[in-house]
C-alpha cells in the first residue's frame, strides 16, 4: 500500500502520508459517520415537526392525564372507571399490568409443559417420541397470530357452552364461552396481617435455606428444607388467618337470565392468549431442554453411578445442574420472546399494553409518536433487564467452568 508513496517527498516521521495512518483514518471515518447520522436525524426531526404542525397535533405527554372514556375488560388492581374520568395514564398502567400478568403465567406454564415434552422427546418409547416430535414440528411451523385466532374463534368460543348454560363447578365457578366467572374475594380488616405473614414466611425460608446449607457444609447433616419450607409457607399465613378469624369473604356470582351479576370474571381472551403462548413457546423450550440434556455426556451418569450415587440424586445433583448451564441462556431468551409475543393479544382483544394503550388510546388521542415509543420502551426495558441478567449469569457460570 505504501509503495507508491516512497519517492514523493515524505513528511517527517513515517514512510507514509498522513491519510494512510490508521488512527487518522479512524477519526476521519467516524467523524464523517457522526456528521451523516446527525444530519439524517435532523432531517427526520425537522420533517416530523413540520408534519405535526401541519396536521395540528400537539406533541407531548399531556394526553396521559386526559380522561380515557372507554371500558377495559380486565382492570386488575388498577383503580379504573370511565365514570370517574380515569386517564390514559391509568390505561397505560392497566396495559402494563396485563402484559406482565399474561407473560408471567405464560412463562410458568410454558416452562412446565416444555420440560415435560423435552424429557418425553428423549424417552426410548417410539410412539411417545413420534407424538412429541410431531407436536413440536406442527406448533413451531404455524404462525403464532394464526394460533391466537384459532384458539379464540375456532376452539374456545365454539366448544365452550354459552353464558346462559355454563359448566358449573360446585355452583361457584362457571366456565362459558366468554370466560370464567367465580367468586370475588373481599378483604376485611386484618387481611394485611396475613400478607405480612406470607412475607415473613418467605424471609424465614430464605434464611433457613442458607442455614441448612451452611450446616451441611460444616457437619454433613442434612435438613429437610423442602418440606419445612412448604410447611412454613402454607402454615404461617393459615395460622395468622385462623387467629384473626379468616378476614376474607367471598362475593358469589349469580347467573341472571343473560349474564352474571357480582363475582369476578376472567375473560376468554386471557385463556386463548395464554393457551396460544404456552403451546407455541413450549415447543421451543422442549427443544432447548432436549439439547441441554443431550449435552451432558453419558460418562457423567456412569461416573456418578460408579461412585455409588443412586439414580435420583444423580439426576438431581449431577445431570440437571450441568444441563441447566446449557439450557438457561436460550430459555431466558424464549421468555423474552414470549413477553414480546404477548403483544399479539391485540388480534383477539386481550387487554395487554399494546392493545389498550397502543391501540385504543392511540386511536382516541392520535398521539402516535409518544404512544408507540412509550410502548416500545416498555419492551426495551424488559429486554435490557433480561440481557443484563444474562450477562451476569454467563459471567457466573464462566467462573465455575473448568
Amino acid at each position: 500500500m505504501a509503495v507508491g508513496v516512497k519517492d514523493e517527498g515524505t513528511p517527517s516521521g513515517g514512510g507514509a502520508r498522513w491519510w494512510y495512518d490508521p488512527k487518522v483514518r479512524a477519526i476521519i471515518f467516524q467523524v464523517a459517520f457522526v456528521v451523516a447520522l446527525v444530519a439524517f436525524i435532523a432531517f427526520i426531526v425537522n420533517n416530523t415537526v413540520v408534519n405535526l404542525e401541519k396536521r395540528d397535533i400537539r406533541a407531548g405527554f399531556g394526553f396521559l392525564s386526559e380522561p380515557a372514556g372507554f371500558e377495559i375488560p380486565i382492570t386488575g388492581v388498577v383503580d379504573y372507571s370511565v365514570d370517574k374520568g380515569s386517564t390514559h395514564g391509568a390505561v397505560f398502567l392497566i396495559g402494563l399490568q396485563n402484559t406482565f400478568l399474561i407473560s408471567a403465567m405464560g412463562i410458568v406454564l410454558a416452562t412446565i409443559l416444555g420440560f415435560v415434552l423435552g424429557v418425553l422427546r428423549l424417552s426410548n418409547n417410539w410412539i411417545v417420541t413420534l407424538l412429541v416430535g410431531s407436536y413440536i414440528e406442527i406448533v413451531r411451523n404455524i404462525p403464532l397470530p394464526l394460533q391466537f385466532i384459532f384458539w379464540q374463534t375456532a376452539v374456545f368460543i365454539i366448544f365452550l357452552p354459552k353464558v346462559r348454560d355454563p359448566i358449573s363447578i360446585f355452583d361457584t365457578i362457571y366456565i362459558h364461552n366468554r370466560g370464567l366467572t367465580g367468586p370475588k374475594p373481599i378483604g376485611e380488616a386484618g387481611l394485611d396481617f396475613v400478607f405480612y405473614a406470607i412475607f415473613a414466611a418467605i424471609g424465614v425460608v430464605m434464611w433457613l435455606r442458607k442455614w441448612a446449607r451452611r450446616r451441611q457444609d460444616e457437619t454433613g447433616k442434612q435438613f429437610p428444607v423442602f418440606w419445612t419450607s412448604l410447611g412454613l409457607l402454607v402454615g404461617l399465613p393459615l395460622l395468622v388467618a385462623s387467629i384473626l378469624g379468616f378476614p376474607l369473604s367471598w362475593e358469589y356470582a349469580e347467573l341472571g337470565r343473560f349474564r352474571f351479576t357480582g363475582g369476578m370474571g376472567i375473560p376468554i381472551e386471557l385463556f386463548s392468549a395464554l393457551t396460544a403462548l404456552t403451546i407455541y413457546t413450549s415447543a421451543f423450550i422442549a427443544e432447548i431442554v432436549r439439547a441441554g440434556i443431550l449435552s451432558v455426556s453419558r460418562g457423567q451418569t456412569e461416573a456418578s453411578h460408579a461412585l455409588g450415587i443412586r439414580h435420583g440424586p444423580t439426576l438431581r445433583l449431577v445431570i440437571i445442574p450441568q444441563a441447566l448451564r446449557v439450557i438457561i441462556p436460550p430459555l431466558i431468551s424464549q421468555y423474552l420472546n414470549l413477553t414480546k409475543n404477548s403483544s399479539l393479544g391485540i388480534l383477539i382483544g386481550y387487554s395487554d399494553l399494546f392493545n389498550v394503550f397502543g391501540g385504543i388510546s392511540l386511536n382516541q388521542t392520535g398521539q402516535a409518536i409518544e404512544i408507540i415509543f412509550m410502548s416500545m420502551s416498555v419492551y426495551l426495558c424488559f429486554s435490557l433487564l433480561i440481557s443484563l441478567y444474562m450477562n451476569w449469569y454467563n459471567r457466573r457460570i464462566a467462573l465455575t467452568d473448568r
Binding site: 500500500m1 418409547n125 407424538l131 394464526l146 375456532a154 388480534l347
Partner: protein, 376 residues
C-alpha cells in the same frame, strides 16, 4: 496307560456345527422391537397405551370429518348442509382469493411467472450443482426485484395493479422475499459494524441491533404504518405496503446481523490476520476471505431466520394488509361461509406448515451437508 484310558472313556465330541437356531421370539421381529421400543418398563407401557388411545380418539374421527364426510365443492355453506364432515368448499371456492387476494383474475399469470423466475434465480444459490451462484445472488438483490415489481405491479404496457389489490399467500411470499433479500446485506453490514474497531460505529450498530431485537414486530409494524409518514418530507406519499416492508426489513436485519455475527465469530482470527498479512485491504479480506466462509456456515441459520420472518409476515393484518390470514379472517365472517372457522384456519395452518416445514427440512439437510466438509 493314559492313552488307553483316553481311548476308553473318550467323551463325545461333535465334529460339525449345529444349525443356528433363531433368536428368541421375544427379542426379534415385531415383538422384540415392541418390547424394546414400546414396553421396556412399566412406565413406558403406560405411556404407550395412553398414546395409542389418544391416537385412537383423535385420528379416526378427524379422518371421518376431514375426508370421508367432507363436502369438497360448492358456492356457499348451504351446499355443505347434507354433509356431516368438513366443508372444504370454502377453500375450493375461494382458492384464488386465498392465493392472490384481490389480484385481477386475468392478470394472475404475472405473479405465477415471477414465482417461476424466482425459483430459477434461487436454484444456483440453494443447490451447489448448478453453476453461477455469485451472479445469481447479485441478480437476486439488484435486477430481480425490478423484474418482479414490473410484472406484479405493471406499467410499461402491462395493466397496473395497485398494491391494495395484492393479497393472499402471494403477499406473504412477496413480503418475506423482499425483507430477506434486503435484510441480508443490511445484516452483514451491521454485523461487520458491530465487530468494527471504530468505537462509534460499533456502538451505533449495537444500539441499532438491540433496539430492533428488543421490541415486538407488531410495534414495529404499527410504527412503520403510523410514524414513518411523519419522518418523510411534507407531501411525500408513502405506500402502505412499502411502509410495512421497511419495518419488516429493518426488524429482520437486526436478527440477520446476529446470525452473521455468529458466523463471523466461528471463524478463527488467523483468517483475518492472514488476509491482512498478504496485503489485502479490509474490504478485500471481507469479500474474498471472511464472508465466503462465514456465510457458508450461517446458511442454515439464515434459512431458520427466514422461516421465522415468513411466519411473522402474517402479523401485517394488524395494519390492515390483506395477507392470507386476513383473507381467512374475513372469509369466516362472510355471510355465505359463516361457521367455517375450523376448515378455513386449518387450511391456512396447513399452507404455512407445509411451506415452513419444507424450509426447515432444507435447513437440516444443509446443516448435515456443511457439517462434514467444514474445517477441522
Amino acid at each position: 496307560m493314559i492313552e488307553a484310558m483316553n481311548t476308553h472313556n473318550r467323551p463325545f465330541v461333535r465334529t460339525e456345527h449345529l444349525p443356528q437356531s433363531p433368536p428368541p421370539v421375544s427379542t426379534s421381529g415385531i415383538i422384540g422391537w415392541a418390547r424394546e421400543n414400546l414396553f421396556s418398563s412399566p412406565l413406558n407401557a403406560v405411556l404407550t397405551i395412553a398414546s395409542f388411545y389418544f391416537l385412537y380418539l383423535v385420528i379416526p374421527p378427524f379422518v371421518q370429518w376431514a375426508f370421508i364426510d367432507a363436502a369438497w365443492w360448492g358456492s356457499s355453506n348451504k351446499d355443505c348442509a347434507g354433509y356431516d364432515g368438513a366443508c372444504w368448499a370454502v377453500v375450493t371456492a375461494r382458492f384464488g382469493q386465498f392465493v392472490y387476494g384481490f389480484y385481477p383474475e386475468a392478470e394472475r399469470w404475472r405473479p405465477n411467472l415471477v414465482l417461476i423466475l424466482f425459483a430459477i434465480n434461487l436454484l444456483p444459490i440453494l443447490w451447489d450443482r448448478v453453476p453461477g451462484r455469485t451472479i445469481a445472488a447479485l441478480f437476486l438483490v439488484t435486477g430481480f426485484p425490478l423484474v418482479a415489481l414490473f410484472f406484479i405491479h405493471g406499467g410499461l404496457g402491462l395493466e397496473v395493479v395497485p398494491t391494495p389489490k395484492w393479497g393472499g399467500f402471494m403477499l406473504n411470499l412477496i413480503m418475506a422475499a423482499v425483507a430477506i433479500i434486503y435484510s441480508l446485506p443490511l445484516g452483514i453490514l451491521l454485523a461487520l459494524g458491530r465487530r468494527s474497531e471504530f468505537p462509534i460505529i460499533s456502538r451505533f450498530c449495537v444500539l441499532f441491533i438491540e433496539f430492533w431485537r428488543g421490541v415486538p414486530l407488531i410495534t414495529v409494524l404499527v410504527m412503520a404504518s403510523f410514524i414513518l409518514p411523519f419522518f418523510m418530507p411534507d407531501g411525500f406519499n408513502f405506500n402502505e405496503l412499502l411502509r410495512a416492508l421497511v419495518g419488516l426489513t429493518l426488524f429482520s436485519s437486526a436478527y440477520m446481523a446476529e446470525v452473521v455475527r455468529g458466523g463471523l465469530q466461528a471463524l478463527p482470527k488467523g483468517q483475518t490476520e492472514a488476509a491482512r498479512a498478504i496485503g489485502l485491504t479490509y474490504w478485500q479480506s471481507i469479500r474474498l476471505i471472511i464472508m465466503p466462509q462465514a456465510l457458508k456456515i450461517t446458511i442454515p441459520a439464515i434459512v431458520n431466520t427466514f422461516i421465522g420472518l415468513f411466519k411473522d409476515t402474517s402479523l401485517v393484518i394488524v395494519i390492515g394488509l390483506f395477507d392470507l390470514l386476513q383473507v381467512a379472517k374475513s372469509s369466516v365472517t362472510d355471510t355465505n361461509w359463516l361457521g367455517l372457522e375450523h376448515e378455513t384456519y386449518i387450511f391456512v395452518a396447513l399452507v404455512f406448515f407445509v411451506a415452513c416445514f419444507a424450509m426447515s427440512l432444507y435447513s437440516l439437510y444443509l446443516e448435515r451437508k456443511l457439517d462434514t466438509d467444514h474445517r477441522d
